[in-house]
Amino acid sequence: MLISEDTRVLVQGITGRIGKVQTKYMLEYHTKVVAGVTPGKGGEEVFGVPVFDTVKEAVEKTGANASVFFVPAMGVMDAFLETVSAGIKLIVVVPEHVPVHDVMKMREYAKKNNCLAIGPTTPGILVPNKGKMGIMPASLFRQGKVAIVSRSGTLSYEFAGILSDNGAGQSVVIGMGADPVVLTNLVDILQLFEEDPRTEGVIIVGEVGGFQEEMAADFIRAMKKPVGAYIAGRLAPPGKRMGHAGAMIRGDAGSWERKVQVLKEAGAEIFLSPIEAGDWVKRHGLTN
């Protein structure tokens, strides 16, 4: 699922403060980080990983086939177009504050080129015992049967940790991003989970704002695997941006009540608090 033995990761912005530290953590988690790119820093090394000036060269010399971004927000679109053009088919965009108009262009370009891109404002993808692309703190994750998709980074850690505490590992954890436009919609990630043979249960961690959860309802209704769902922001006041650019209730659009109602009607079990996921995995036989 997404990250396997064949995944050869490129880190963009590898020589930056965050890029460096996170490369170390990814390597410690046995991720195959094969190359880094920072224009102008070609020839350097970061924890033994060779740095290139261009993505094209990195791909040619190392066979990199996936990329994770630690690039300043204003440079993300350019780097993204470069990466898709170089033929990479899996991209994780960690940075926040990427302009929405850029994200729309990136999304269109990725779709046209059959590239699966996650984010922006995402903690990335972690497949326990295989590797991670992004910033998820590894100590909270265990290998198992439950797939988690989360709009929030920190809540993806919290849910993985609660599941691990209850003896239920994860098949994959994906942060889908928290911007008004994301590169891959919730429904498309759910489809990956439904088709993944190692995944036996699915947890959706949503939050107020936008329509991602609502638009996934029909798909959830047709899913064969059990689905648990949590929506953050029950007490969020309307009209306030709750940290994430996409987490804002506008009138009655994007409200907690509406999302919970739609997900419930679609057959998902609603968690009123993350801790309830612990019981859920036990009841559905999703422990290891």
Binding site: I135, R151, A236, S273
Partner: protein
């Protein structure tokens, strides 16, 4: 960031979108002068950034100069959804024949701009979409290319207009789309575009919501988002680089992510009353958490603080130092419960404990809030 109507209209005018003649005033006397200049009757419009301004009494038609002065005085002292206007827009009142809804917005699901157009403007377009979706023309816009003028003429024709009115309306449609792309906006909306008796058109209202992430590179003069925040604590939050949302309770929250912050707020709210929502995003440093403590403790009657952070992208051990430094320097003695997990957690716990903070090592936020509750209700010693 949403602009005021008068600011949006200034921009729209540059794109050849006709707007009513008007003047922005800061007091009742000035409003009266403006009405003399513009000619009666006039419309007074409170410049507050809330939806449903008209229904809340923020728009008043006046037929005499005395009325203008009296009503302006009223408007300046009338809170609309908690906000007092600093400006009133005084405009000529036009003889309106039709009211058209015109909006360009981001379709978050499809990931592209969409233009919405309806002959039944003036009403809530979301409600109209539910009650009679056929009344709205939805025109997806290409992400890279924007719109050509002929497409705007086709849309005006679809609405049933011809001749000079068609040309006038098409210019407004095309102009608004260009504003949306040039300003990299999230929403550009005119509700309504008035078609007048003589076939000319005019934008009676104007909404322009910009993307804060794109402001710096626009190369255009726009107000600073910080200046728009009226609540002093929320403004201070923005100044130090975090998101702070003021709430009515007395238990403070510092969290390292939006989702975790909302969850902390929701769980606290089931037993206690959250004083705020605060999330740092990915930029934690010792200094930032010191400033967060300073901000959260400015809330009057604060009883306790929950710190809920993950070390993913954030160096939480650095943050812990800032928290403890604040407690020591200020002699803060309300209970603080912290849950800090992830990279360098053990180190972080040591630092926090040394500062007298109750450290919860379980994963679920519920457990940390439970601990806080026990302390506040006297079931556990402080």
């Amino acid at each position: 960031m949403r602009l005021h109507e008068f600011e949006a209209k200034r921009i729209f005018r540059e794109y050849e979108i006709p707007v009513p003649k008007g003047r922005v005033v800061k007091g009742p006397k000035e409003a009266k002068e403006a009405s003399v200049e513009l000619g009666l009757p006039v419309v007074l419009k409170a410049q507050v950034l809330v939806g449903g301004r008209g229904l809340a009494g923020g728009i008043v038609v006046c037929n005499s100069q005395e009325e203008v002065e009296a009503k302006a005085k009223e408007l300046f002292s009338k809170e609309i959804k908690g906000l007092l206007p600093e400006e009133i827009l005084v405009e000529e009142k036009l003889p309106v024949k039709d009211e058209i809804y015109l909006g360009v917005t981001v379709d978050g699901y499809e990931g592209r701009p969409v233009l919405l157009l309806s002959k039944r403007g003036g009403v809530n377009v979301e409600r109209l979409a539910k009650e009679d979706p056929t009344a709205i023309i939805s025109f997806p816009l290409p992400v890279f290319d924007g719109m050509y003028a002929f497409q705007a003429r086709n849309l005006a024709r679809d609405l049933g207009y011809g001749g000079a009115t068609l040309i006038n309306l098409a210019k407004v449609i095309h102009g608004l789309v260009r504003v949306f792309y040039d300003y990299q906006a999230l929403i550009a909306e005119i509700n309504p575009v008035a078609v007048l008796e003589d076939g000319s058109v005019s934008a009676l209202d104007a909404v322009l919501e910009l993307d804060n992430s794109a402001l710096k590179r626009l190369g255009k003069e726009v107000p600073s988002p910080t200046s728009r925040i009226k609540n002093p604590l929320e403004r201070k939050g923005r100044e130090i680089g975090v998101t702070y949302v003021d709430l009515e309770g007395d238990v403070g929250i510092i969290s390292s992510g939006a989702g975790l912050g909302m969850t902390s707020m929701d769980i606290i709210g089931s037993k206690l009353r959250p004083a705020n929502f605060l999330e740092t995003g990915g930029g934690i440093t010792e200094d930032l958490l010191y400033k967060c403590m300073d901000l959260v403790t400015q809330k009057p009657n604060l009883r306790a603080i929950l710190i809920n952070v993950y070390g993913g992208i954030n160096p939480i051990h650095e943050g812990a130092k800032g928290v403890v430094r604040f407690i020591k320097e200020r002699g803060l003695n309300i209970p603080i419960v912290a849950k800090a997990l992830g990279n360098r957690q053990a180190e972080t716990w040591e630092i926090l404990k040394e500062g007298g903070i109750h450290v919860v090592t379980e994963t679920a936020t519920e457990k940390a809030v439970e601990r806080l509750y026990q302390i506040l209700t006297g079931k556990e010693e402080r």
